[in-house]
Amino acid sequence: MIENWLIDPFVEFAFMRRALAGGLALSLGAAPIGVFLMLRNMSLAGDAIAHAILPGAAIGYLLAGLSLPAMTGGGLIAGLAVALVAGGVARATQLREDASLSAVYLISLAVGVMIISMSGSSVDLMNVLFGNVLALDDGTLLLLASISTLTLLCLALGYRALVLECVDPAFLRSVSRASPLAHFGFLVLLVLNLVAGFHALGTLMAVGMMILPAGCARLWHQDLVPMLATAVATALLGTLSGLLLSYHAGLPSGPAIVLSLGALYLLSLLASPVGGLARRLRPRWHYTS
């Protein structure tokens, strides 16, 4: 009975299988990126960069209609431009990365919405803003899978440098020339994953696949490696339950996924013994030393 509830939608409908595959690919890449994003205190910066993708994708749409390469390319260019400028400003001056980004984000959002609504229907606008994980075609699926493969590969290769760049950048700069590479490499991966997220969840919620799993994982662990694993597991679980929720209750799928992730986050917030509220209810014992 419960198996039917869990499995039937995916057995019966190809679009559900595609959505699941896309969501799984997205989870594998975006969740670890989200952990580093959160640990660098860049959660809101990630949000801002996600919005900056919108006008790029909109210009792609304006030129070529609902075309995967045009909108992906446009989003990528716009996102990279904003991320690299922000990163460069942070390296060259005393300003923090998030300082100028909130301005950029509002301007980008307004420009993007305006471009799309001038030239398209409100259905297109909804598609770009909220994505459509139930309408992933072959090309998009391939794109999501490639981005997540590339992300995992780069994270594995650059892990040590990236960790050090987050925890003690001045030290990394003093022992190695890898610091700028780690910093900008991370920003590029961030933009790539936001563009992937944009296809499935739309520009407004692409960051959800990063920050919510990362927030959950932070609440359960004090070590980075299990934190990364939990973040990926949370993202996978959220995708699966979100798709099922959207199928059975007839809800829009993108928000259903983000809401599932949100529910997991709230659960962690309440129940986690490490960082959650539950720890306040425990008896207050302590070691002798």
Partner: protein, 250 residues
């Protein structure tokens, strides 16, 4: 003086064209134990940053005899490190072996032995698995000194190594500095505690945007020098004219 490991040639450092270190000349011989002192804003940290290659000069040069990245070890001010990051003490300290390990190398048996040894030396045995966020300020500073020990560099730059740590930690770390000196390493430390400098350092450079005095600690720390340093450090003028000192001299 012994062979210089560092030379400043008409060095001017600063931000937004305002000089923080102004036309500095001088050399640092191998094996020197030098205290860098002066009021806040005198350019001490800026000088250290520039020696470490973090800040290009506005004018002049710094010549490092051993310009390889592993030719020096740099301890920036503690604020440069994010203690909330989930990394263990052992992992943080082990990164002192970066030039042996690079991106992928494992510690191996000898690396692990050295890691244990330096942790024992700074009194952090048993703290290996603790996240750095759970350490006190003094313990974190001990961990950073352990990392310096692993770096095993001939030139060591310390930026306010004793800010906000207790007397015991200062004493223990000062012993390490003394040992580095005895091993013939060059150590330059930015310090504020003049009593500590008097009792532990043979040589000092008093900086107040310009070099006020350089030499044996007793001579440098004269009341007249200190007063002059304070006056000079306070003189910041947003609309100062462009400096042509070098052009005139040439």
């Amino acid at each position: 003086m012994t062979k210089p490991v560092l030379a400043f040639d008409n060095l001017t450092l600063g931000y937004d064209h305002h000089p923080v270190v102004h036309h500095l000349h001088g050399e640092v011989g191998q094996g020197t134990l030098l205290a860098l002192i002066g009021p806040n804003g005198a350019g001490k940290s800026t000088l250290l940053k520039s020696i470490a290659g973090e800040l290009p000069p506005l004018e002049g040069h710094i010549l490092r005899r051993d310009p390889a990245p592993d030719g020096f070890a740099y301890l920036p001010q503690q604020a440069a490190l994010d203690p909330a990051f989930p990394i263990s003490v052992a992992d943080l300290v082990a990164m002192g072996l970066w030039r042996h390990l690079g991106l992928f190398g494992g510690l191996g048996r000898s690396g692990r032995r050295r890691l244990e040894a330096v942790l024992a030396e700074v009194g952090l045995t048993g703290f290996e698995r603790r996240p750095i966020g759970t350490l006190s300020g003094g313990q974190l500073q001990r961990a950073r000194f352990a990392r310096l020990l692993l770096q095993d560099a001939p030139l060591i730059l310390l930026d306010e190594p004793y800010a906000a740590v207790d007397a015991q930690t200062v004493d223990d770390m000062a012993q390490l500095v003394l040992r580095w000196h005895q091993e013939g390493r060059t150590v330059i430390a930015v310090l504020h505690d003049l009593e500590h400098v008097r009792s532990h350092y043979p040589e000092a450079l008093l900086l107040a945007r310009e070099a006020i005095a350089r030499g044996p600690v007793g001579d440098v720390l004269s009341p007249a020098n200190l007063l002059r340093a304070r006056r000079l450090a306070e003189a910041f003028d947003e609309h100062a004219p462009v400096c042509h000192r070098h052009a005139e001299a040439a």
